[in-house]
């Protein structure tokens, strides 16, 4: 369900969205609604997901946990993410 239901309870999710069976638009999330999105496409991910992939990318490339490289890749993703962190 992701960002559109972050930090709200099961009861609140049901009241607001009914039975959730697919991805929801991210623009209603309290931390993202300030941003203007280009479309109402579903399946958007948050900055947290992007940085998770950055960590995985670093480990896959180096075969070890390297803080400098992880944050280098964080930085690269940070610069590409259009909506701010």
């Amino acid at each position: 369900m992701g960002a559109p239901v972050e930090m709200i309870t099961q009861q609140q999710i049901f009241a607001k969205h009914g039975k959730v069976e697919d991805y929801l638009p991210i623009k209603d999330n309290m931390f993202f609604k300030k941003h203007t999105f280009e479309s109402d496409k579903t399946g958007w991910v948050t900055d947290d997901t992007i940085l998770t992939f950055a960590l995985i990318k670093s480990y896959n490339e180096l075969g070890k946990l390297d803080l400098a490289d992880i944050f280098k890749k964080h930085q690269e993703e940070f610069e590409k993410f259009p909506y701010g962190f």
Binding site: Y59, A68, F71
Partner: protein, 162 residues
Amino acid sequence: MDNIQAGVPIEQAGQKNAAGNGVVMKQFPLVAIAVAKNISDADMAEFIITYTKATHDSDTAVLASLVHHKFLTSLLKTEPDKLNKKALLHELIRFITPYESRFPNDDGKISTMLSLLSDCIIEKTGKLSLSDEEIIEIFGRGELDPNNPKDIFRSGYVIFTL
């Protein structure tokens, strides 16, 4: 990120007092690596402390990252039908207590919150006796303050995360 870009050392780059869920949201790969490579909790803890402080420089965020790591590694190592929630919570309390001395946060002791949560597990069924709303009522959610939206990051943070 701006600090890192400006050349501030990683371990000093984090925003002071930041205690949002950004670190725990991206922690699972570290858990998978730790379990697959048999990295000890103590060894991984030192990495996680720096990893957290790089963006969220607060005792609360560090403690939350540590307890979250222990929580997820324990889940990953346990067969679902053998999961004992109360025992797991006590394992988390034993793990995090020494770190609470090292990182004395002022948002309430995580071990106390975990202990309260453990008390709310029904012994016979192993199920939590609280609804979501009751959890929020007891542990606090934090409300959005229109003048200071970051207020939601404080109370109840760890419980929400767990």
